[in-house]
Amino acid sequence: MAEEKLLEVKNLKKYFNLRSGFFSRKSAGTVKAIDNISFYIKKGETFGLVGESGCGKSTTVRVILRLINATAGEVRYKSVDLFNLKKREMFNVRREIQIIFQDPYASLSPRMTIGDIISEPMEIHGIGDKTSRIKRVKELLKVVGLNPEHVNRYPHMFSGGQRQRVGVARALALTPSIILCDEPVSALDVSVQAQILNLMANLQKEFNLTYLFIAHDLSVVKHVSNRVGVMYLGKIVEVAKSGELYKNPLHPYTMGLLSAVPIPDPEKERQRKRIILQGDVPSPINPPSGCRFHPRCPNAQEICSIKEPQLKNYSEDAEEHLAACFFAGKPI
C-alpha cells in the first residue's frame, strides 16, 4: 500500500530579524527560529513534534499555514507547493488544513457565542446557508461531547476542557484532512487531558484525520503519536516511530529529555538512573557552532563544535529512525 505523504516540509527556515530599537533600522541579530528542517506526515498518521521552549515547534505550525512567511524552504500539501499558491488558492487549501490552539481561553473570541465561533469557518468559505450551518454546528457539538442546546452560550460559561472541545469542533467544521494541533492539552488539568486525547483519537478514526501534534509533554506525545520528531534550537535532531524513540533514543538530547521526564510511579522512580542535562538552552540568536547541542552534551568531541551533523537513518528495517549526531546511539 503506497503511503501517501500528505504534508511534506523541506529545508524550511524561518529567521526573525531583531531591530536594535523600536525606530531603529539597525539589526541587533537574527533569531534562527527554524533553521533547515525537513519532515513528512503520512495520511492517517499522527506525527508528534516535541521539544522545549524556543525550539521552534510553534513557529513551524504557523509557517506551514502561512500565518507567518517562511524565510526559505518549501511545504508541500498533497504534493502542491503551498508557498507558490496565490491568495485565493491558499484560501481554498486552508479548508483542508485546520488548527487547534493551545490556550482555550485566548483562542475563542469572548464576544461570540460558541455557535458563531464554530460556524464562522463555514461562513467565511461560503458553505451552506444559515439553517444548514446551525444544523451542522449542533452535530459538531454532539460529536465533541458538548450539549447542542448550549449553542448560544458564550465561552466564559464553559470550563477549560469544554472550551477546548469548542476549539476542536471549530477545527472540524470544514471537514479537514489534516489538523495541526499546537499543544492542545497543555493548558488543561490532567483528568481533562485524557478526555480530550480520547476525543481526538476517536475523531481521527471516524473522520480519517491526520494530525501534526505539537507538545512539550513527552508522555502525552508518546501516547498519541505514530511517529515523533524531536526539535532542539531550530533543528530536528531525531525522528522515529513512537515506541522506538522511547525505547531506543539515539540522540543525546533525546536521551537527556526522556531521562528528565518524571514517571508517576514511585518504585520505578526509585530504581531509575537519571541523567540530568546541565546548563540552559542557549539563545537562538547566537546558536553554538557546529552541533547546536554540543555545549550541553556529555559525549561532545572536537568535531561537534566544528561540523554540523545531518540526519542519518540508523534503522535496518522499513521504518526509518533518523538521528543527527556523529556518535548516535552512544549512551550518555
Partner: protein
C-alpha cells in the same frame, strides 16, 4: 531549629479559607487537616481549583483580606498558632522559619531591582548583617543554587536570566535564612522538563544540607513520585486522601485518587488504546453540592454520597480518606483496576 526525625513540625487542623465575592462565597479551602514531620517532603496534589495554593498561602497568612478570610482552623508551628500571631511574630515567621517559592519566577521577582539587591534584602530583613557581610552571604547562596558567574549575576536584573535561573534565585532567597519549612508552589510548572529536573534535584539536595522540610504543591504526579514522602490529595477545596507515597500510588482508597492514577499518560508504558479519564468537570466552588463534592463524577457513588459529606477519617494507620466506600477498596471488595 534542629528537629529530630519523626518530630512533627507543623500541624494544620481543619483549615477553612473562604473568599467573599459578589457572586457568592468561594469555599477555596474547606476543612483541611494534615501534619508535616521533620525533614519530610509532603506533596499536596490536586487540579485547578482544588485549594492547594490557597492552603499554602494560608499557612503563611498571605491571603488578601478582603475578599479572603481564614474563617476557621489552627496552624500550629513551634507550639504557637500561626493564626494568632501578632504582626511582629508573623514577620519573624515568614521568610525565616517558613519561606515560599512561588510558581512563576518572572512575576515574583521585582523587575526594577537587581537580584543581588533582592537577595540581600531577604537576608537583612531577618538578620542584622552589614552590607558587606550580606553580600558575602548572597554569593554563598548563589553558589549553592548553581548560578555561574556569581559576581556579575549579582548585579543583573531578573529579565537577564532564563526561567530556570530565575527559579534558582527564588530558591536562594527562600533558603537564605535556613527555614524550617520550605513551601514550593508549583515550582517547576513554568519550566522546561530538563530544567525542571535540575531544579527538583537541587531542592532535594538543599533539603539535606539545610535540614528543612518541604511542602511541594503540584498537579504533576510524576514530580511527587520521585520526591515526596507523603501526599495529600485535594479536590474542590477538600482533602480527599492523605497517606505515604506508595499507598497513594498503588493502593488508593478514594475514587478521585484512583481516577487520577488511571487517567495519566505515562512514559514507560506501552501505548494504550484509550486512556481512562474521569468524566465530567470539577464543580464550581461557589455552588458546591450537598454531600460528597466528587459524587457527580464518581463511578462508585451510592445514594448516601449525594446527601451526606463523608468525613476525612483514618481507614488504617497513617491513611486518611474522605469516602464512604474506602473500606471496600481497602478490603478488596471493590477492585482498583490500576
Amino acid at each position: 531549629m534542629e528537629c529530630a526525625a519523626g518530630d512533627k513540625i507543623l500541624e494544620v487542623k481543619n483549615l477553612k479559607t473562604y473568599f467573599y465575592t459578589d457572586d457568592g462565597v468561594v469555599k477555596a479551602v474547606d476543612g483541611v487537616s494534615f501534619d508535616l514531620n521533620c525533614m519530610e517532603t509532603l506533596g499536596i496534589v490536586g487540579e485547578t481549583g482544588s485549594g492547594k495554593s490557597v492552603t499554602a498561602l494560608s499557612i503563611l497568612r498571605l491571603i488578601p483580606q478582603p475578599p479572603g478570610k481564614i474563617v476557621e482552623g489552627e496552624i500550629i508551628f513551634d507550639n504557637k498558632n500561626v493564626l494568632d500571631m501578632s504582626i511582629k511574630e508573623l514577620q519573624n515567621f515568614r521568610g525565616d522559619r517558613v519561606s515560599m517559592i512561588f510558581q512563576d519566577p518572572m512575576t515574583s521577582l521585582n523587575p526594577v531591582f537587581t537580584i543581588g539587591n533582592q537577595l540581600t534584602e531577604a537576608i537583612t530583613s531577618h538578620r542584622s548583617l552589614n552590607k558587606k557581610a550580606a553580600r558575602e552571604e548572597s554569593y554563598k547562596l548563589l553558589e549553592m543554587v548553581g548560578i555561574p558567574d556569581i559576581k556579575r549575576r549579582f548585579n543583573s536584573y531578573p529579565h537577564e536570566f532564563s526561567g530556570g535561573m530565575r527559579q534558582r534565585v527564588m530558591i536562594a532567597m527562600a533558603i537564605a535564612n535556613s527555614p524550617d519549612i520550605l513551601i514550593a508552589d508549583e515550582p517547576t510548572t513554568a519550566l522546561d522538563v530538563t530544567i525542571q529536573a535540575q531544579i527538583l534535584e537541587l531542592m532535594d539536595e538543599l533539603k539535606q544540607k539545610t535540614r528543612s522540610s518541604i511542602i511541594i504543591i503540584t498537579h504533576d504526579l510524576g514530580v511527587v513520585a520521585k520526591y515526596a514522602d507523603r501526599i495529600m490529595v485535594m479536590y474542590a477545596g477538600k482533602p480527599v486522601e492523605f497517606s505515604d507515597i506508595d499507598t497513594i500510588f498503588y493502593k488508593p482508597c478514594h475514587p478521585y485518587t484512583l481516577g487520577l492514577m488511571r487517567s495519566i499518560t505515562r512514559l514507560d508504558e506501552e501505548k494504550k488504546d484509550t486512556l481512562k479519564p474521569i468524566e465530567g468537570n470539577p464543580p464550581s466552588l461557589i455552588d458546591l453540592p450537598d454531600g460528597c463534592v466528587f459524587c457527580v463524577r464518581c463511578e462508585y457513588a451510592i445514594s448516601k454520597c449525594k446527601h451526606k459529606y463523608p468525613p476525612f477519617s483514618e481507614v488504617e494507620k497513617g491513611h486518611n480518606v474522605a469516602c464512604f466506600r474506602a473500606d471496600k477498596f481497602l478490603s478488596g471488595i471493590l477492585s482498583r483496576n490500576l
